[in-house]
Amino acid sequence: VAVTSSSRPRFLLALVLLTGSTVLAASSSLVPVRDRVRAELDPVRDLGRRATSGVSIGLGRFGGDKALREENARLRRDLDAARASSLRFEDALREREELRTLNAYSELVTIKSVDGRIIDGPISNFDETVEIDRGTKQGVSVGNPVVTGAGLLGIVVGVSPNRARVIPISNASSDVGARLSRSGDLGIARGVATGRDIELDLIDLDTKVATGEVVVTSGTQGSRFPPGIPVGRVSQVRPGTIHQKIAVRPSVDLDRTVYVSVLLWSAP
């Protein structure tokens, strides 16, 4: 078959589209390949991180004076823990009443966890994951929730022997089953964009919701998170047509977080 000069770009375009579609169709089966490549590149990434750790210009949150940053991180962790205690206390009061009747038990205290540090940001511009220094060698697996002293940070979406990629709950692709601490109403906390408030959906119009009210994970059947982890506080309430439009300020400030705990827990 002769390919003329005018039909050739069309032929090449069809070839590109066919190749792209084939790879997209096989994308899920190629994920192990991607994980393997990323695992092989981990030492290179560590080398780059060490080489640029003292350079502050243009390196954003991963540059700067190391000792000062370490101290700041420790202080923030302490502050976060104190804030989380307050949030948990509010939720615990309501939960205690509920437990009296349901005779249930919060399983959060029994879950094993691994402590780690956020060591890297995303590699590409449209990716909003962060990387932590714990991986399969420490028992971390895809789907494990990641928390800080302040509350829920996100969920593990990729893992290599010594690293794990975590997608924050404020990311646009993130959904968390959530519960209002006062009314106990269940909803879905949907991310909008990393660093912005979360939208709490499916809360009935007749439910009384106050600004500042604590939102925690619901832990209902099939949930990806155990119950009772602080998600954030209600920052804005507006009436909608079917449900209320509720904005929730995440309890974890990703830009200021260094230390995290990975809960070695997966949805049953």
Binding site: T19, G20, L24, R45, L59, G121, I123, F126, D127
Partner: protein, 174 residues
């Protein structure tokens, strides 16, 4: 008139080698460059400057290989960057045949700016169409486009020199 990227045999070995090199350098270094949390887009840049030398077929192949390398580092489904870079490579390679070599610098800068913007418009559109992945908020999206273009223009001389060395047609000798 001598033109860019006259169509010729596609040096697949060199394309793969260069893409792997850019992958490693990006992980090691470029991903650390950050202005307003925006990093360079080296795989788009490689596709654009390489396609200027290689023409349509070479540009398309380079785009697919470089795009797949970008996919390996992304959290989105594999194949999205492959499609974007493949289309950009083919487009730049086709356009390169029409460009007179006398105005090379202006043509190079215009190609890098225009095609980086096009790639960054195409990627989230495809991601939305195929995986329903939401767009970044408008201000963040605009910041990504502006500063990614800036990074790519700044890195262009290095990529151009390398791609000319690897892909430029050899002059005939007597």
């Amino acid at each position: 008139v001598r033109t860019f990227g006259a169509d010729r045999a596609v040096p697949i070995g060199r394309i793969v080698l260069l893409s792997v090199t850019v992958l490693v350098v990006h992980v090691l270094l470029f991903s650390r460059f950050s202005l307003f949390s925006v990093r360079p887009e080296p795989f788009l840049l490689l596709t654009i400057v390489g396609a200027l030398q290689l023409g349509p077929a070479g540009g398309a192949v380079l785009g697919c290989v470089a795009g797949f390398s970008a996919d390996l580092l992304s959290a989105s489904p594999l194949g999205l960057w492959l499609l974007v870079c493949g289309i950009i490579g083919l487009g730049v390679g086709t356009l390169a045949l029409q460009l007179a070599a006398e105005r090379q610098l202006a043509a190079n800068i215009a190609s890098v700016v225009g095609c980086t913007v096009m790639g960054l418009l195409l990627y989230p559109a495809l991601a939305f169409a195929i995986t329903e992945q939401r767009y970044p908020p408008p201000l963040r999206y605009l910041t990504i486009i502006v500063f990614a273009v800036l990074w790519n223009v700044l890195l262009m001389p290095i990529f151009l020199a390398t791609s000319r060395r690897l892909f430029a047609p050899k002059r005939a000798t007597r």
